[in-house]
Structures are given as structure tokens and as C-alpha cells.
């Protein structure tokens, strides 16, 4: 079916168009929304950078602190705990408590 003539006839009639004010309002709203999106984007980057910086500072500080402790105690890592006086005294106290509970022969 050929509707060319009818289509031409219809097409000659103008369609209602949105008022120009619609476009102006839209662009105004969109400008505000885009500005807010840019601000949000920037804030996210700032927070991510700050979090990253805190992690790095924490790692560096932890490393410096470990090295300082090692210098003071003469032992690195867990050995400085095991080798400490407080740790030895704690072990001795626990052994004495067990002797008191179990008796000299190890029987309760």
C-alpha cells in the first residue's frame, strides 16, 4: 500500500513544539547537577587519596617503630618479646602456680 501522498499531506502540517523555556530550564538544572557531580567526584578522589596517605603513614610509622624497638632490645620481631625479662618472669610465675596446685610430685 502506498501512502506517499497522504504522508506528504500530513507532513505539511506542523507539530506542536515544546516551549523554548523548557530547554532553558533544562540546561539550568543540568548545569547545577553537573557541577554537583563534579564536586562529588573530586571529594571521592580527595578521600581516597587521604585514606591512601594514612595507610602509607601507618606502615612507615610501624616500620620505624619496630626498628626503634629492635635497637633498644637488641632483638627483632617476636624474639624481643620472648627474650624480655617480663616474659621470663611471667613463665616462672606460671610454673610456681602449677607446682602449688599439683604438689612437689606433680599430683593434685
Amino acid at each position: 500500500m502506498n501512502y506517499d501522498r497522504l504522508e506528504r499531506r500530513l507532513r505539511d502540517i506542523p507539530l506542536r513544539q515544546p516551549a523554548p523555556e523548557v530547554k532553558r530550564q533544562l540546561l539550568r538544572r543540568a548545569a547545577g547537577r553537573l557541577r554537583a557531580q563534579r564536586r562529588g567526584h573530586l571529594l571521592r578522589w580527595v578521600f581516597a587519596a587521604a585514606a591512601g596517605l594514612l595507610i602509607v603513614i601507618n606502615l612507615v610509622f610501624g616500620q620505624v617503630h619496630s626498628q626503634r624497638i629492635a635497637q633498644l632490645t637488641g632483638r627483632p620481631g617476636i624474639q624481643r618479646v620472648i627474650g624480655s625479662v617480663a616474659y621470663a618472669e611471667g613463665l616462672e610465675y606460671r610454673e610456681q602456680m602449677l607446682r602449688d596446685i599439683l604438689g612437689p610430685n606433680g599430683n593434685s
Binding site: Y3, R9, L15, P18, V22
Partner: protein, 186 residues
């Protein structure tokens, strides 16, 4: 002034042009939004006007449709078919509005005007279009004034191309009968 100035055959059929503008919009380019509005506002508006039947509401919803693009932010560049996307949003917003309203005024998209073709002809076409069921009328508007293919209309309205073609045929036969009758009387 020729009435054809209101023809909107300038829809962006070139997907790469759409993509470039969407990419620019994702970067916050307001000029890209303006270009997209110029290209797509008329058909979206006519779809909305046909569905809600009220100029002011159709214009409000038209803004909401394009603000939905802006609200996608950086993800807007991932839209593959912009026309279908805009029409889908428009249909959703129109049906959301119609659910909240009890009746819709039957407002034609055609503007009766005493231009080149004469007021009588404009009124005749408007009245003839108003006699069509809404779903046929919107297919006619998209096909005749916006020069969409049936495949594109189907995609936009979420119907099959065959359904779009059928609605168009029935509509045109009815229009031919109505306008033919009125011409015989003139």
C-alpha cells in the same frame, strides 16, 4: 514560513555521533546535552504529548527524561541506543503519571495553523488524527513526522516491527477514509 521547518527528520541515525555526544556529556559538557536535546526533544515530546494529553505535563516530563540522562553521570557514555533509551524512559514516566490521573485530555500533537496549507486543512488533519486510537496515532506521528523505520518504532515503543507496521496501516487507511470524506464535502 514553510510548515516543514517543524519536520524532525534530523534525528541522529548515526550512532557514532550519539556516542561522541554521550561521551562528552559524561565528562560534564553541557553543550553536548543541548545538542542531544535539539535532536531528540521533538519526537520524545510528541510521544509524551500523545500519551499524557496535556502540554504542560508533557513539557515537564520532557525535562525529566533529559535530566535522567544527566543523572546517569559517568555511565551515560555506555548507552548503546540513545533513541530507544529516551523513548523507554518517556513511556515509563508517562505511564507513571497516567496512573495517578483519572482521565487524560485528548490533545493532538498537530498544531492547527493558518500557514501555507490553510487552517481548514490543519484542523481537518488534527481532527482526523484525534479519531485514531492513541497507539495508532503515536506510530503515525513517529513514522510520518519523525521518519522512523518500523524497526526503530518497535524498539522505541517496545513492540514488534510487525505490530508497528500493522498499526500504521490501519491508521493510514482510517485517515485516508476520514480525510477523503472531508475533502469530498469541501
Amino acid at each position: 514560513m514553510r510548515a516543514n521547518q517543524f519536520r524532525t527528520g534530523n534525528l541522529m541515525n548515526d550512532r557514532s555521533e550519539d556516542r561522541d555526544l554521550l561521551t562528552a556529556l559524561a565528562r560534564g559538557d553541557l553543550g553536548a546535552l543541548e545538542d542531544l536535546y535539539e535532536a531528540y526533544a521533538p519526537p520524545v515530546y510528541h510521544l509524551l504529548l500523545g500519551r499524557v494529553g496535556d502540554q504542560d505535563k508533557a513539557q515537564d516530563l520532557l525535562q525529566e527524561v533529559f535530566m535522567a540522562l544527566v543523572d546517569r553521570g559517568g555511565k551515560v557514555g555506555k548507552i548503546r541506543n540513545l533513541r530507544a533509551y529516551l523513548f523507554a524512559i518517556a513511556c515509563r514516566k508517562a505511564s507513571g503519571l497516567n496512573k495517578r490521573r483519572s482521565a487524560t485530555e485528548n490533545l493532538s500533537q498537530v498544531e492547527p495553523t493558518a500557514g501555507d496549507v490553510g487552517l481548514a486543512e490543519s484542523v481537518a488533519v488534527r481532527d482526523a488524527l484525534n479519531q485514531l486510537p492513541a497507539e495508532q496515532r503515536e506510530v503515525v506521528v513517529l513514522k510520518v513526522w519523525h521518519e522512523l523505520t518500523f524497526a526503530e518504532i518497535g524498539q522505541a515503543l517496545d513492540i514488534s516491527p510487525n505490530t508497528a507496521a500493522s498499526r500504521y496501516r490501519y491508521a493510514m487507511e482510517k485517515l485516508r477514509a476520514i480525510l477523503g470524506e472531508m475533502n469530498d464535502e469541501l
